[in-house]
Symmetry: C6
């Protein structure tokens, strides 16, 4: 796969949260590399509360990692 | 997306818990940006014990991050 | 919401565990503020092994936070 | 509830793991205080692979807390 | 139960991962002590993708604990 | 099993993320050692949004471990 992640540092907490979302999506992409297949699944799970909550959970776990990597942006 | 998260610091543990709830909701919002779609899902999952427990779990994970960022409000 | 969380410190591990339970319940309450709705759901999930295990998991995650905040009650 | 948890310290990792199991069970007990109800649920979930895996996950989360509290029994 | 866990230290990360698997299985065994019952469940869940992913998650959580206990094998 | 994990150190965050994916897959492989069985399951879960999200979650947990082992690649 091409380079997509060179650092866990971000300037702001929000940018860190958005990087967490990217990690969550890449976790899916490595398992299902076909963009077409992922697009086919999206309409259904975007209307499924349980899938949305589960997605938010993966983001939360990745955000823990990124927040720690940035020392919680304490010096920002 | 507009700026919605500039710091993980809060004055009190309760404000930190409420920020954790906001992060959980934003994790959903990035996946399902349509407010209309989210509102359509709400009545069903608000009556679904499993969805409520899962939501509380996402909050708990985000609260770990925020509590750590605030050094558990030890100096408060 | 009224003030319900002013500190993560507790005198004993058991009090910390009970605070973890409170956090788990508050995570539900913020999503479903209606006490009537929560009471309606309780009989069903209290008889559902999977819901009970999931509840225990949310407590476990919150207890991690609280135990860390109390330095694991090492000096107690 | 009576006192059931006075310390997170244990002499050995195995005793720590068994304490993690106790915490997982207490997490259930606080939600479903009736021993009769819990006993009624046990036969079904003890034969349900998903429930057993989920139980093991709650134990794993609690074991993280207890292992940390014991500094991973490094000095043992 | 007989002694089965005397230390979280392992010589290599792989041995640590295999210990994490053992912890995950012991988490099941304490809930379902019957080897016969566990063997009866195995064929079904070994063919169930969701159960396999959930098992891998429990291993991942236990591996966090063991990796931390071994200081991530940095000095190895 | 043959040696497959000798270090948690990687040169870049992306290589760390890819190692996290390997750990997630190995967690499945230890439970279901048959490559044939795993291949049989793949088409179904690669089209199942919930399974993909769950897989991403296991990757996220393993990435926490690896990122910590690499001190978040801060010195890179």
């Amino acid at each position: 796969m091409d380079t997509w992640l060179t650092s866990l540092r971000t300037d702001t907490p929000q940018a860190g949260f958005e990087l967490a979302i990217k990690l969550a999506r890449m976790g899916v992409k490595y398992t299902q590399p076909s963009a077409e297949a992922r697009d086919r699944l999206r309409p259904a799970y975007a209307e499924d509360a349980n899938a949305l909550i589960a997605s938010s959970q993966v983001v939360a776990i990745n955000f823990q990692t990124i927040a720690s990597a940035n020392d919680y942006w304490r010096s920002a």
